[in-house]
């Protein structure tokens, strides 16, 4: 239907994203196939189109898979990547365990209270992520508030900073709103009449939940999980502030390769690998997005 196409303005967004999102990824890929050199920026070859086709040919001949070789053979990267997935996976499971009951309680809360509950869950998001995680260092460090509280209660002190527990804590703390809110949106929209029908047919509230509410909320759970899992894999701030030198996460590795080692191709190879393996979950996420949004 010819609507005169106000939606043709999508071209604008398309062009912008092609230049500032899609093209950069191609560059990451290209960089990962380059050498490290001294200089700014510290890699070669760089594409110099003033030479025309000759420079492209020279580029291809100069491609270097060293970085990838290192990525695969150097256990560091593979370990970091797998370990990141591990942290993200465990954190996601924790987020579901904590976030689902919260979202359910919010969905069942009286209508008047709901906007305030939503605001209360969103509000921390609007302060500084960095400082909220930093607050946890103040809580978890040996001379921190947690141990202060434990000491005053006569309980033994704990060393939680720079441990896996701290990472899980930080990830869950940071991403809780991202799990609770999509779940709340799905649960809140559920037809209460279905539960009444279940009760009418003899189901206890517990059964009704497991056979009606929960299965119907699964798309929301999946959406929330993906929304958290993928960014958590590449998370930097949490492992940087709450983890120690033992904590291996790919986000930290890329950062230190880039800012400390000045090994751009290595950072790019790690980044490219991270991208490649995230494509599948991203596609999955899109499918779910399209489905839940079109309801």
């Amino acid at each position: 239907m010819k609507r005169g196409g106000v939606e043709r303005s999508a071209w604008l967004a398309y062009a912008w994203l092609a230049v500032f999102f899609l093209a950069p990824f191609a560059l990451v890929l290209k960089l990962s196939l380059s050498h490290t050199t001294l200089g700014i920026p510290p890699y070669a070859p760089r594409l110099d189109l003033s030479q025309g086709l000759a420079s492209v040919v020279a580029l291809v001949r100069d491609l270097n898979f060293d970085a990838y070789g290192r990525f695969v053979s150097d256990r560091l990267y593979v370990d970091a990547y797998l370990s990141s997935l591990g942290y993200a996976g465990v954190a996601t499971a924790l987020l579901i365990a904590i976030g689902y009951p919260m979202a359910l309680a919010m969905a069942r809360a009286p209508r008047g209270a709901q906007p305030f509950l939503v605001a209360a869950v969103i509000a921390p998001f609007w302060t500084s992520f960095l400082l909220r995680i930093y607050a946890w260092t103040a809580i978890l460090k040996p001379e921190g508030w947690l141990n202060l509280a434990l000491r005053s209660l006569g309980l033994p002190e704990v060393q939680l900073l720079n441990t896996d527990a701290a990472i899980y804590l930080g990830l869950v703390y940071a991403y809780l709103p991202f799990m609770v809110l999509p779940l709340y949106a799905v649960l809140e929209r559920q037809d209460q009449g279905l539960l009444e029908a279940a009760a009418d047919l003899g189901a206890t509230p517990w059964r009704a939940f497991w056979t009606v509410t929960f299965p119907m909320s699964l798309p929301g759970v999946a959406a929330g999980a993906l929304l958290c899992l993928i960014p958590m894999t590449g998370e930097f701030i949490v492992p940087d502030l709450l983890g120690g030198s033992q904590t291996l996460m790919i986000g930290k590795v890329i950062w230190s390769e880039f800012f400390q080692n000045r090994d751009w191709p290595a950072a790019a190879a790690a980044a490219a690998a991270l991208t490649a393996t995230l494509v599948l979950p991203i596609l999955l996420h899109q499918r779910l997005q399209a489905r839940t949004l079109s309801r």
Partner: protein
Amino acid sequence: MRRGPGVLGWAVLALGLAFLYLPMALVVIYSFNAGRLVTVWSGFSLRWYGELFRDEALLASVLISFEVALLAASLATLLGVCAGLGLARRARLPARGLFTSAVYAPLVTPDILLGFSLLLLFISLGLPRGFATIVIAHATASIGYVAVVVRARLMQVDPALEEAAQDLGASPLKAFLTVVLPVIAPAVIAGWLLAFSLSLDDLVIASFTAGPGATTLPMRLYSQVRLGVNPEVNAVFSLMMLAVTLAAAAYAIILRQSARGPRTGA
């Protein structure tokens, strides 16, 4: 008949919200601590607030952050509305799947990747890193958020509204501006606010794409935090909490108002 969440439900909510707010509350309290040490209360003092307002570098970074956020959010909103329109109205675009991916993928791409890849682009384009590059980067990262929110709202709008406006003599552009835009305005504003707060809060992307003279607040805070304990940071946080509490209260009231009386155009 609405069943409430029950005692267990309220307990879960209380615990969850306590978990969320306890660390923040502690920081706010200790921003008034006279001493440097976190665990020792040395009496009430506004000393750190004073230091904060004398810290020129920090204040400069606050200004820069706000300027970047304002521009980036506005740019992201403009492009995000276009993208949302394209998605909701199934605009005819080449490689439509690629378009959809390009819009949604930044939402789930780790900041590290976004920052790094954009830096490479700026280098190959010969763009000097500074204020503009952060704005571009933040805008790119946020387009998807605005698009998602706008698209969702657009799907709820009766397509007949725009047809009716055109039927009554308004050109397609005018029909959109006078009839559709006012109806989706809450979503557009929500998208802008989302993009604004994402920009204000971003550390990683800015670190990759900033240049000399363009240090954002998170970058400044990160370097201070890395250097060691600095209670001034607590004061910064408390002020943020104040701003957010006021904004959140206003938000909740507005949300309540619009919960009565649907505006989907039926």
